[in-house]
Symmetry: C2
Subunit: 455 residues, 2 copies
């Protein structure tokens, strides 16, 4: 059996990459490695994907679907003998269907390309995240990506109306539904959203678009307590009349580090115990944000606030929130976490994690920010010289079990978090995941070893 | 083996109903039959549900989970030897969790009881439908119920954060997640939402509540064409700034029949080619609805409109839309359909169905209404004396395949629509449903014969 030769027969010689063309690629955004794999196969059609899957399944080969390889949990990681399946040549974006507010796209199209296609039709594809230029639609569906607008529009799952998926044995499962309501039997696509390529290879999708919600208004706010953060959220949600699109929290360590090291100007003069970035999308966005800020003042929740006067200023507020690159710059090791937990536990969880981290590693630094409205916090930890990744994982993850938190809010499990899955899922849940995996991929051909402890 | 005696040991003698206590029950809202079953078992706890499932699974008995038995597709139908599992004693509603906006409930609680619990905390459980007083939360989850507010809040699937499910073999699968974002492995609850009791028995749920959206404003509108209905929808969606909660269409045959036979006053003086009921929920609802109606006038989309001046008048508008009982009254047979299709095909589909129906049965009458914004139409057909149910099914369902429609928008497949599933699902999809069924219920213990052609 000459695997490379056989795959070449399916996709052509230019589309089976080996040697340096493999090792030049990174398999993950963080931690990034040079890819090792037997080869990277780049099909052009669903039929080719089906033939590749059937070939691998029949020959006991591991097939790892890859999108933009911008994940943070190692879901696209390959071992030396694995076959990487890149959907980078399947990038077709069909014209927007204006009447049904849908768009059909191939899985390899980037998130940004889809956003732009929607925008050109004066519509919105509401999923947005920092890696928009390289993350693919297939990857965002396979990981059920979140991002900055979940509060208003939901996660990627909520945008997917139809999917075409290739199963491990090569079966093409076409569920290209375009309807908002369709209760004709099981909603199979739900199984594949968030399954990180372990149950099927997403090749095509029908996505839901939204009407443009009008103008955006943005405010950067300083507050004196976490209670005030939660109270202001309740107030903003009530007063913005469904138009609140983002409510992002930043701890001062985060703002200080980003503003101090990066190319930013602080929107507020003094320092505060906590910061919040609010965005409202509405035809009356300016009036609504003024009203929220005024009410917040009157109730004593806000210490200081800056409302963006133009798009440039709004972008400069977001640039602080989004500047993870500055936070991660330098040669020191960086650990990035993505957790969710009930809002009422956030303050005590972070305080106690900070204390424990300090006991374990005197020089460790932690920067906290996130989508507080969704219960989702991101932690960037610089452990310094003596920090063990595993020990810090334990400090972060283990306390989540008792408070009903999740070890992955939006990044997925991949390879990195697999051994902590039991903190967020019961044994019966993990067993049922394995049952599902065996039903759809009995030979464990697709992305083996990811998500579940046994697969 | 004495089945009734064995089940009595699990739930007590009062909770295994036989004989007349079974036949007094109806198994469906329409078409309603007196229930036939070996017995009805009424567990009080999840542990009892688990013991019952394990017993049935071990002894080759069919177990049919039942909620309020208000379904319209025969999903709760039992055969004489089946065991009906009623969750009517599991009705606990835990206190609302205000910080996370969630509520935990047992599956047998009625939809109305959950709505009222939310409302008492000044919050909203947004799923609403006519059978609210008897439909249970478990039943609405098992069928992924839709209703009048899907446009703004989504279907039942979008309200479910966590589920506790008992599998066929008695395994208790507890996924009582309370977080909006949780990507820790497969989102297993998605498999059970809309599976109509064929994959597991839903015993408990964590539901998402919403802030009260303020006041409601309602308008009853007459229009001269279906194009105007679609254009007014686009206009209302854009101008109402995310606050449009209902956009219901009614054909004149529907309005005439309900107003003529029922106890209603027509909101408009003259008759129109089509009618629309709009509802906006917002702190500024009155201003927004006036604005929508004024813009509609100015663009020539609206022929006549009545804006409700008080809650009583709004209720009287809704009473027309909801009065299916008047439409179904009398001894003539009635067939009720629930389909979805792209909005652009609605007019030609209904016109052509009307023509075909008339060719087949000169005296047949059809009344059309529905959630046009969601692509969902309901048809009430009075075939008259000589109409065959099967023939009318074929007239309604077969044309949907070519236009990407669904034979079930929100009522499910149950028993009634099983043989038309292929109109809305491919062979690979149906095969995958069967694979899933076999993985979770290999002996086909739970609700056998429902949803899929083979199970």
């Amino acid at each position: 059996m000459n695997i490379v030769e056989d795959l070449t027969k399916i996709v052509g010689v230019q589309n089976v990459l080996t040697g340096e063309m493999v090792s030049q690629r990174l398999d993950c955004y963080l931690p990034a490695h040079a890819m090792e794999a037997l080869c990277v196969v780049r099909p052009e059609t669903t039929e080719q994907v089906s033939m590749i899957a059937a070939y691998c399944d029949g020959h006991g080969l591991a097939l790892v679907p890859q999108g933009g390889r911008t994940g943070l949990a190692g879901g696209a990681y390959t071992r030396p003998g694995d076959i990487a399946l890149s959907l980078e040549r399947m990038t077709t974006i069909c014209p927007v269907e204006r009447s049904g507010l849908t768009i059909e796209v191939e899985a390899g199209a980037t998130l940004q390309a889809v956003q732009e296609a929607a925008s050109a039709a004066d519509l919105l594809y509401p999923v947005d995240l920092g890696a928009r230029g390289s993350a693919t639609i297939g990857g965002t569906i396979a990981t059920n990506a979140g991002g900055n607008s979940v509060l208003r529009y939901g996660m990627t799952r909520d945008q997917v109306l139809g999917l075409e998926v290739v199963l491990a044995d090569g079966t093409v499962l076409s569920s290209m539904n375009r309807l908002i309501k369709n209760n004709a039997g099981f909603d199979l696509k739900q199984m594949f959203v968030g399954s990180e390529g372990t149950l099927g290879i997403i090749t095509r999708a029908v996505l839901r678009l939204r009407p443009n919600a009008g103008l955006k208004a943005t405010a950067f706010i300083g507050l004196s307590s976490f209670d005030a953060v939660l109270e202001l959220f309740a107030l903003a949600a009530a007063e913005a009349d469904g138009a609140l699109s983002s409510y992002e929290v930043m701890w001062p360590s985060f703002v200080d580090a980003v503003v101090g090291r990066g190319n930013h100007r602080s929107p507020l003069e003094n320092t505060h115990a906590l910061y919040v970035l609010i965005e409202i999308e509405s035809h009356r966005a300016d009036a609504l944000i003024s009203q929220v800020v005024t009410s917040g003042w009157e109730r004593g929740l806000i210490d200081d606030a800056s409302i963006a006067q133009n798009i440039g200023q709004a972008n400069s507020f977001w640039a602080i929130r989004d500047d993870i690159d500055t936070l991660c710059a330098g040669s020191d090791p960086i650990l990035l976490y993505d957790i969710s937990l009930p809002q009422t536990h956030m303050k005590s969880y972070i305080d106690s994690l900070q204390d424990n981290l300090h006991i374990y590693l005197q020089n460790a630094k932690m920067f906290v920010f996130g989508h507080v409205a969704d219960g989702n916090l991101h932690l960037v930890i610089r452990p310094g010289e003596h920090g063990h990744h595993d020990a810090i994982d334990a400090l972060v993850y283990l306390p989540l079990e008792a408070i009903g938190g999740s070890i992955s809010a939006e990044h997925g499990i991949g390879l990195e978090k697999r051994s902590y899955l039991h903190c967020s899922r019961t044994e019966a849940e993990i067993d049922t995941m394995v049952r599902l995996k065996r039903a759809l991929d009995p030979r464990s051909t697709l992305n083996p070893g990811k998500v579940m402890p046994l697969s």
